[in-house]
Subunit: 124 residues, 2 copies
DNA sequence: GATACTGTACTAATTAAATTAGTACACTTT
DNA sequence: AAAGTGTACTAATTTAATTAGTACAGTATC
């Protein structure tokens, strides 16, 4: 389900979070799906259960999953998921835009970067 | 010239780099200006000279400054600076755009975020 | 040449954060 | 009761950033 990139110097729990978010948002993990248990996921990735626990805990805090003691961790509702992730991306986008403007780039220049980079995804 | 934010959990050398980049690109530090020596900057910020050395070394590697042994570190040419920073930001922008598209956002939606956020900077 | 700056390189010690290790306890299902 | 689940907690380890200290080379000035 997940594979780790050890070249990446970000913390493991963060990589796990990002990968799970992607799978959830894309629909590979539908809403209310039960995620692998903390222990089994740890075995699968050959890392410590505490690290998974941390990832799950953060994901729950952010609203991506919900957990039921004794039962497991489950994917949150689809609508919720998409909104959460879109908000995250918009946040990032705004940060970059502000940085670009500090450099004196005008909106039209920024937008042209988007258009020039984007090819063939419009009708997807 | 620089002040550190200890709440920020990014490495100090990275904060120093970003702040200097900003000062250089904005023009507060014109091209060929001599930067504070490794040792004096360290005293000013109450941190270790090695940390400044690392920041300067990285800045040179990235092309923002050039150093002359025995003389000091100096701000690179203006044209160079702006291009470097703009490339950085465009890189970041493209990453965010790609993430946004994965979520199914169309270019028009992304662009509308930019326009809605940007107010009053068009004529700056 | 001597002095006092500058950059640069290097090793060792310290600090802080992530990760691991191990244990314990509560809840659910069978 | 047994076997799974989540959760909390402390302690040890590992890793990266930072500090500490020293050394050496180039520049400028006297």
């Amino acid at each position: 389900m997940i594979s780790l990139n050890f070249k990446d110097k970000r913390p493991i729990y963060e990589q796990v979070m990002d990968r799970l978010k992607e799978l959830m948002v894309v629909g590979a993990l539908p809403e209310n799906t039960q995620l692998p248990s903390v222990r089994s996921m740890a075995v699968e990735l050959s890392i410590n259960p505490n690290t998974i626990q941390r990832a799950y805990g953060e994901l729950e805090r952010q609203g991506y999953i919900y957990s039921i003691k004794g039962k497991g961790n489950f994917v949150a509702e689809n609508e919720r998921l998409r909104d959460l992730k879109i908000d995250e991306v918009k946040e990032k986008l705004i940060e970059v835009i502000e940085e670009a403007r500090k450099l004196g780039l005008r909106d039209e220049e920024i937008i042209s970067v988007i258009r020039q980079h984007g090819e063939g995804r419009e009708r997807a």
